[in-house]
Amino acid sequence: MTPPTRTRDDAVRKPAGPSRGAREERRLGLLLCAPAVVVILAVTAYPIGYAGYLSLQRYDLRFPDQAHWVGLANYGAVLTSPIWWQALGITVLITVVSVAVELALGLALALVMQRALLGRGTVRTAVLVPYGIVTVVAAYSWQYAWTPGTGYLAALLPAGSAPLTEQWPAIGLIILAEVWKTTPFMALLLLAGLALVPDETVRAAMVDGATFGQRLRLVILPLMKPAILVALLFRTLDAFRIFDDIYVLTGGSHGTGSVSILGYDNLFTALNLGIGSAISVLIFVCVALIALVFVKLFGTAAPGTEPEHR
């Protein structure tokens, strides 16, 4: 490779732009990244793009000859359907409640894990066990537990109650299953956040006479903010896509279906690729919006990549 001829202007601008070596290095960096980018585009961008393309068609697998372009009609059908708004409402409710409870419980567990003097390893392992259990397996055990006749938990309820067959009790149990399963994940992320809080700062506050509540509110939580926001972002996105717990516990019946369940039913049961894809794209848009709100409004970033002036 011949080195580019350098002009006088280049020499003059040199201090402002990156050096030649730096540019070359960047170029090499981009080249080395390229294969990964291509693979990522192939496995993520293609399906997303294809879903977008399908969502603009009337396409029922059972009537392949009748497939035709309908523009945004599928989106119109979804957005004007009370079924979609009901599912979205349920999804938002489950997301907000479960993430809020997980945050509170996770923080408490993180503090316990950090402070535990005896058997710290055992405490951490015990806390993490639910997260290690396969979601579907856990969901089945919850389902059996709450079914009259087979379940030890259902037996604790008044005779004749079948909580999974009624909307609100079932949603409560779905939230419970979610919280049980993912609180350890939240605790783990928050534990990492707690490590960001310098011990001296907390001790200094102690010396100044701050109570535990004040230390938590004024010192620990503000310093942990980046970690909390990342944990909230991860869990909110995850909770919004809730599928497996609902699928196993109620199958989405009795008004407990989330938007993911709705998409699944329309794709795989109704075989309606157009409507199903439109639902998938809308879920994708919702998830992107949530991420945008977190990143732009709350300034969420991975711990360590914060701007210096935090």
């Binding site: 059972r62 067959t165 009795h254 279906g257 795989f268 109704a270 639902i279």
Partner: protein, 425 residues
């Protein structure tokens, strides 16, 4: 250079991996040595061994032309349909024979996934076969499958609690009420969960009341007063002492378990409950009896919904001729007899119901045949799944049914469902 070295090793192992995958895929091809063709049969999972035995027998009887590999589909009907749909939508040439639930032939035929049975094949595929079963395999006047087994529900009851079995739903509820007052087991076990079983229950009741869910040409909802009467029966049961508290969550198997556990007096279910009771509850078994499905009105027998499996030949099969021959072998008299005796599934061949061997271990054969002769067929349309979801969602939970309003709602929803318009819940 260690990096290059490790990269090379990775490439090598990736290549080796690909080779393994390729050779495995090659092994899946269905032409083996000596020109012996392996036909893939996808059917519901059978634990009794009857289906595997049928596949083996037919392979042996083919005179070296083919062997049949029995592939088990998932347990639930929805899972079975999804797997078959995915394979057929992908034009899978390795699907030779499909075991279809009686509600799927219309859908699979409309999508072009299964082959029509014409000429001699049509005659051999329908010979000595129950009319209602043949109707399930027919779409727009053409035959697309051959009935493998049939099925229907009977009323099962305990004769230590109930002397004479009730003939109508009203009688059954009254008896249950009396038993409840006497502090005895009194539940009526029926499929009340929000799933296809609820649609079957509704379909049976609508037909029993003299109506139908769809018009004869399957282009529009029919419903009307018989549907209102049917919805009322469901609501009456769900709000009476006869209702099991788990009714809104119950499917066939939960019904069976509840009956076996001794909490129920009645059970509306398929004949598989009979061998199960014999094996699981020998002390209850002597009191376990059957009767015809209860009617809605005393003047008209119940039109119980027919169930079962139809066998179809895949549209993309490379060996369609052999697959048709193998399918006819699978549904032969001997194999259906084994299936009935081992697996407890009622045959689709009419003459088998008089077979001494069958009636010995199938003492209710005559009642099953009578029910099948007056059986109703579920709404026959490629959009059956959508119709079924509209029904099961509108009428669930049964205790919340408002007969007039719900039937009016259902009318609108079924109209949309038939056009596969809008969303399904």
């Amino acid at each position: 250079m260690p990096r290059v070295h490790s990269l090379r090793t990775r490439w090598a192992s990736a290549a080796a991996g690909l080779a393994v995958v390729a050779s495995t895929l090659a092994g899946c091809g269905n032409s083996g040595q000596n020109g012996l063709v392996t036909l893939n049969w996808y059917n519901f999972p059978d634990d009794s061994g009857a289906l595997q035995q049928a596949a083996d027998h037919c392979g042996q009887q083919s005179g070296g032309r083919y062997t049949i590999r029995y592939n088990k589909l998932p347990r639930g009907a929805d899972g079975q349909r999804q797997q078959l749909v995915r394979r057929m939508a992908a034009h899978d040439a390795d699907v030779d024979i499909l075991g279809l639930d009686v509600t799927w032939p219309a859908e699979f035929a409309e999508a072009g996934w299964i082959r029509e049975w014409t000429g001699q094949l049509h005659d051999r595929g329908t010979a000595d076969t129950l009319d209602a079963a043949v109707r399930t395999a027919t779409w727009q006047g053409r035959l697309y499958a051959t009935p493998y087994n049939s099925n229907t529900q009977l009323l099962w009851y305990r004769d230590d609690l109930v002397r004479t079995p009730p003939r109508t739903w009203a009688e059954m509820l009254a008896t249950a009420q009396d038993l409840a007052r006497a502090g005895k087991p009194h539940y009526v076990e029926v499929q009340g969960a929000q799933y296809e079983g609820l649609t079957v229950w509704f379909n049976t009741l609508v037909t029993s009341a003299g109506g139908a869910i769809l018009t004869p040409d399957a282009q529009a909802p029919s419903l009307g007063p018989p549907a209102v009467a049917a919805a009322k029966v469901m609501h009456d049961l769900a709000t009476s002492a006869a209702a099991d508290p788990s009714l809104p969550n119950q499917m066939e198997d939960q019904n069976r378990l509840a009956m076996e556990s001794g909490t129920a007096a009645f059970e509306l279910n398929y004949p598989f409950v009979y061998p199960s009771m014999k094996a699981n509850q020998p002390e209850l078994f002597p009191h376990f009896h059957w009767a015809p499905y209860p009617a809605v009105t005393p003047d008209r027998p119940a039109g119980v919904t027919i169930g079962g499996i139809d066998l179809a030949v895949g549209a993309y099969s490379r060996h369609a001729d052999l697959a048709f021959a193998a399918t006819l072998c699978l549904r032969s008299r001997d194999n259906q007899l084994t299936n009935a005796l081992k697996g407890g599934l009622p045959p689709s061949l009419r003459s088998l119901y008089q077979d001494a061997e069958l009636t010995r271990s199938y003492p209710f054969a005559a009642d099953v045949l009578a029910a099948l002769d007056t059986a109703s067929v579920r709404p026959q349309t490629p959009a059956y799944q959508n119709v079924s979801i509209a029904v099961s969602h509108t009428l669930s939970p049964p205790a919340g049914i408002r007969p007039e309003n719900d039937v009016a709602d259902l009318h609108r929803q079924i109209q949309d469902a038939l056009g596969s318009k809008g969303l399904i819940p």
